[in-house]
Symmetry: C2
Subunit: 259 residues, 2 copies
DNA sequence: TCAGCTTGTTCGTATTACGAACATCCGTGC
DNA sequence: GCACGGATGTTCGTAATACGAACAAGCTGA
């Protein structure tokens, strides 16, 4: 089978499926419920076409109707379930992350690389934080501006890393954010030699995080573990001397059990 | 717009989307990765057809190829993200559930009704439990055999409850499980009058759980909160005198903040 | 009440998805 | 090493499916 993906317009590309998934994905945090016309506008699609997809998703149970508006049903969670269930170490990682949160009072996550983004796969949220970090499983953030992304990129072979950096779009979120490829690559190579990555207020002001890679005992990369903190509360020294060793401890314990 | 859903074969039903989603859903805990032929067999679909859908999902980034096999990518988590993000009280409920887990050392969840099932929407897993309860967000379990399901059913109007029970399939999982509709309805009505439901070893041997409904201050049902325990470790009295009040406390606190 | 805008729906047909059949690959046994 | 059979990969004629222009119905504000 040819390695390169087929494209829209190819005979084997089912454009109706692509359009239907496009419709499913226009429901987002900003648009949790919409009329048919709003769906069509968001999806940049003919109204009659959007109608068919919404009605089909409704018939399949993925969308429900409230008056003239539509919104997703919990059945959509099932679409991600197999991915979650296929990670056999997910439950134990969740437990370890919960330990971190219980002990340090910080949010902690497992993320994986997906295209240009990091996707949150497991998450243990800190409690009683006024400065809320609003993330959930499935959230995607640009890899280049997250500690997890940087540490995962550092584990790529050079050719893959260079290829990634060639096509990386650097759109700074804060004044602190890296703006060009050369310093970014330095940070990634630094993460490689250190075995961890710290990102300080590059994704959002006040957001400081540290991440380490987590491997199985057979050296298969499971993802990156991180702790997210508030820069006003946690200084760099605490991050390095308390939080990082904690992460490294968890990564080692996962490695000891994960084949 | 007609309230009754359209059916396969109707002109407005996009069968290609339905088939594509069917293919996406044959990846499950038992079949996390499959060849094209295996996908076709699981989906009960012509091989060439399954190929087109798998190739399209691959082109869209939802599926990746490993040799001759295909598996889901973390991008599928994005399909559920909007549902999660649209629940504006999710983060705070997650925090409260985390408190329960920290305090009692038990798993705690928020679930909602979806068809005949309860779907886990928020989950805080207990740590260091040898008797593992393997669930994740997106997991579906039969409403009639779960405490959350029973308590959610108890909040339905009578006509809806009777309609649900008319079509309910009772397939007992354990010797303790209710086998017919009359005693089930009694349990549900009991849950309605008590304001909570307890299910004891009906879903799985050793699994004991208690659930309460959680409402907003405007009396909109958000779902059910539960605590799952091991019957060998937690007796009924502790469940009633320690765990249940804890749940009711959380439900009240959610109500106080949730509009 | 009426007009204008939005939402809901229909149906002729262009285009798309279908599957039978052919092509290629891989693993096993001699 | 080679042949064979089964599994996997792909093509292409065409049946049928999805498309969108246009009509129908509903809603809201003046």
């Amino acid at each position: 089978m040819d390695e390169s993906s087929l494209k829209p317009g190819d005979r084997d590309f089912v454009s109706a499926l692509a359009s239907g998934l496009e419709v499913l994905q226009v429901f987002d945090a900003e648009h949790p419920r919409m009329t048919l016309s709003e769906v069509a506008a968001q999806a940049n699609m003919d109204r009659a076409k959007a109608r068919r997809f919404v009605l089909t998703l409704h018939a399949l149970g993925f969308v429900k109707r409230v008056g003239r508006q539509f919104e997703l049903t919990p059945k959509v969670l099932q679409l991600g379930y197999a991915y979650q269930a296929s990670n056999q170490y997910r439950a134990v990682i969740e437990q370890f992350l919960g330990d971190i949160t219980a002990e340090l009072g910080e949010s902690s996550s497992l993320g994986v690389l997906d295209g240009q983004d990091v996707v949150y796969v497991v998450r243990s949220a800190a409690r009683h934080r006024l400065m809320a970090i609003t993330l959930s499983v499935g959230t995607r953030l640009p890899a280049v501006y997250t500690s997890m992304g940087r540490v995962l990129l550092s584990q790529l072979p050079d050719t893959e890393l260079d290829s990634f950096l060639d096509s990386a779009e650097l759109t700074p979120f804060t004044p602190y954010a890296i703006k060009s490829v050369a310093p970014l690559k330095e940070e990634i190579l630094k993460a490689r030699s250190q075995g961890f990555a710290i990102v300080d207020q590059e994704l959002d002001s006040g957001l400081r995080s540290v991440a380490v890679p987590v491997y199985t005992s057979r050296n298969v990369l499971l993802g990156a573990l991180n702790i997210s903190t508030n820069a006003a509360r946690v200084d760099m020294e605490t991050l390095m001397t308390v939080y990082l060793p904690r992460l490294q401890d968890v990564a080692a314990r996962v490695r000891a059990i994960a084949q």
